[in-house]
């Protein structure tokens, strides 16, 4: 294992440990005592599936380019993370998979850069932004650049591994910790609305049904 891979491995272990500590320190939401009207499980499943669809989410349908960019960006990030894990095994990706990775990461990189430009130029978005928002986006973009470079030029792998290590070490401390907390937030929202019989939505949307 080359030195960069060792650094990456250490960063991965540290990052996972950091997230585990965060999760344990946060604790868990108690089971509600009120008798349910619907199913918490069905609500949670809906929250992670249909509720993401633009037709089920007004915020997504109103801002389709930004929403699509966000999805592409996150797909690229997860692809890059999987590629980083794979790199520890020291075997190259099969040619077709490498090409698919390159496309996903390239599209995500463009999307991420576009979102960064939007955050810099959109007055409304700037009003709710903090310096870390720009840093986090920049660091992820840099990781994607390194990942993309590796798909074209395998000798860039150590750079990708070092940049990836920095990203992983930073993740539990800053904005990127939403990677963990969005799972619990979304599950809790879905379970709550499921128990109350609001989700899954069981009626057709967007019509004036008298």
């Amino acid at each position: 294992m080359n030195p960069a891979a060792l650094v990456l491995l250490a960063a991965m272990v540290t990052s996972v440990a950091g997230f585990v500590v965060l999760r344990v320190r946060t604790g868990s939401t108690p089971v509600p005592l009120a008798p349910p009207r619907g199913s918490a499980a069905a609500g949670a499943l809906y929250a992670f599936t249909v509720a993401f669809a633009p037709w089920a989410k007004e915020s997504a349908s109103r801002h389709l380019p930004s929403y699509a960019a966000g999805i592409a960006y996150h797909l690229a990030v997860f692809t890059a993370l999987i590629t980083l894990v794979h790199s520890l095994f020291g075997t190259p990706l099969p040619r077709a998979l490498n090409a698919a990775t390159a496309v996903l990461v390239a599209v995500g990189l463009v999307a991420g850069a576009a979102l960064l430009v939007k955050r810099c130029t959109d007055l409304r978005l700037r009003a709710i932004s903090v310096p870390e928002d720009f840093f986090a986006n920049g660091l992820v973009d840099l990781t994607l650049v390194a990942g993309l470079a590796t798909t074209v030029c395998p000798t860039a792998l150590p750079i990708f591994q070092i940049v990836g290590a920095v990203l992983l070490l930073y993740a539990p401390f800053g904005k990127l910790r939403h990677l963990l907390f969005l799972l619990t937030s979304r599950r809790d929202l879905g379970a709550t609305l499921g128990r109350r019989g609001v989700w899954p939505v069981s009626h057709p949307r967007g019509t004036d049904r008298g």
């Binding site: 966000g70 709710i128 939403h178 937030s185 809790d188 879905g190 019989g197 939505v201 004036d208």
Partner: protein
């Protein structure tokens, strides 16, 4: 009043809550927002004023900045980098403007959040911080305190309740031509306790007599209570857990004392939400009786053939306002529609509707916060536009809080509509059994 230890400043008291009272869910939510801003137009306050301060993510950020300062490593080491903010008087005032002045806790943004966070939970946490600092709006606090002191938020005495019920009962007998019809009070061992909003007793007795008529025609075994009958909970709006628990606890204790099988909550969105969904958590135990909204009960009567309705008796066009706490946060979604289809000749939906509906602007205790009146009316413009576009002459809403706001919107935006409860519309459509004089 909320407990305030002597000798501590408002900021210190707020800091104690900020440091100590974060539960797992709020912590997760405060770590979740990515400030994408896609939630902006899902908020009726932002749609009405276009101010970035009204974007749900901005309101969340007011709280998250304080959270980061005291609960995260980077917030302590490099506060400027992560936008962490020290809690001081200025921060508290900005928080109060966001949590009480720009949010009605309607929860519409939660359904539309990319991440899945529920800003209203965060805003309720902010309100608890502000409450500790003594910065909850005086009107909200006063309603909670009066409920704690007298058993209802309007300080209505037992004698006043009995007097109101006596003349409503006589009026119902005259209307039905049935001397056996009654509005029972404080009866033990009956199946249903019907608990009401004090506004019904004081200002809207017609909704009370409509409910009584429906119970009578359906042959229900029911009672009112002359004490601790209040379904509202301003402790919930103030996010004062102790007050909320005590207020809900009194009604729960009264229902237990009367030995009922079911607590039926009159038409009140937050009353339903707090008693159906929150009270067991506050009290730390499941309730020994069923809790349902009167809307659900009426729909059941209709489905079971215990009520017959003639829509021709309500010929004017009717539209429906969905109270956020009953519908989006409560799960009572279709029953009111079933009732209106049966009771009104021309029922049309608003757009959007059901769980997607816009708040009327009066939620979250806004109606009691007189310092935010102008913003409340401004935020109600979205609802006024919805109503106008239906062409309806009657707006039905199963919530007295919403009804108050809708009546103000009616005047402010010259909508020319009549605002009514579901029970009033259903009672007008009743096909009375033969032998009745109605």
């Amino acid at each position: 009043m909320a407990e305030q230890p002597p000798g501590t400043s408002a900021v210190e008291r707020a800091l104690d809550v900020l440091r100590a009272r974060l539960d797992a869910r709020t912590t997760a939510l405060l770590n979740s927002c990515v400030r994408c801003g896609l939630c902006a137009e899902t908020c009726h306050v932002y749609l009405a004023d276009g101010d970035a301060e009204s974007i749900p993510a901005h309101k969340v950020e007011r709280v998250a900045r304080l959270f980061r300062r005291y609960h995260t490593l980077l917030g302590r080491l490099v506060p400027g980098f992560v936008g962490a903010q020290t809690l001081d008087q200025e921060a508290l005032e900005a928080l109060a403007a966001a949590a009480f002045g720009r949010c009605t806790l309607c929860g519409r943004c939660a359904l539309n959040c990319s991440v899945g966070l529920d800003p209203s939970t965060i805003i309720r946490f902010a309100r608890s911080v502000l409450g500790a600092a003594g910065m909850a709006p005086k009107g909200i606090r006063a309603n909670a305190d009066l409920a704690l002191a007298t058993g209802n938020n309007m300080g209505i005495s037992r004698e006043d309740v009995l007097e109101t019920v006596a003349w409503l009962e006589q009026d119902m007998r005259d209307t039905l031509g049935d001397t056996a019809s009654a509005m029972p009070v404080d009866r033990r061992g009956v199946r249903v306790l019907y608990a009401v909003n004090p506004r019904e007793v004081k200002f809207f007795p017609l909704s009370l007599s409509a409910a009584a008529m429906i119970f009578h025609v359906a042959g229900e075994d029911w009672t009112l209570s002359s004490s601790d009958f209040d379904i509202t909970n301003y402790g919930y709006f103030a996010a004062d857990a102790g007050a909320a628990r005590a207020i809900a606890g009194r009604l729960v204790a009264r229902a237990e004392e009367l030995g009922v099988e079911e607590l039926v909550v009159a038409e009140c969105g937050h009353g339903y939400r707090t008693l159906r969904w929150e009270a067991p958590e506050w009290l730390g135990r499941p309730l020994p009786f069923k809790v349902r909204s009167f809307v659900e009960v009426m729909a059941d009567y209709l489905a079971g053939g215990r009520l017959r309705l003639d829509p021709a008796k309500n010929p004017e066009r009717v539209t429906l306002h969905d109270p956020c706490n009953l519908v989006r946060n409560g799960g009572v979604i279709e029953e009111q529609r079933t009732l209106l289809r049966a009771a009104a000749g021309d029922f049309v939906e608003m757009t959007p509707n059901r769980e997607d509906n816009y708040c009327c602007g009066g939620g979250g205790g806004m109606l009691a916060a007189s310092e935010h009146t102008s913003r409340r009316i401004e935020a109600g413009r979205i609802k006024a536009d919805q109503i106008r576009s239906t062409g309806a002459k009657v707006v039905a809403s199963p919530c007295h809080n919403c009804i108050d706001q809708l009546m103000e919107l009616n005047r402010s935006y010259k909508l020319g509509v009549e605002v009514r409860t579901l029970a009033e519309i259903v009672a007008d459509a009743l096909v009375l059994p033969k032998g009745s004089g109605g």
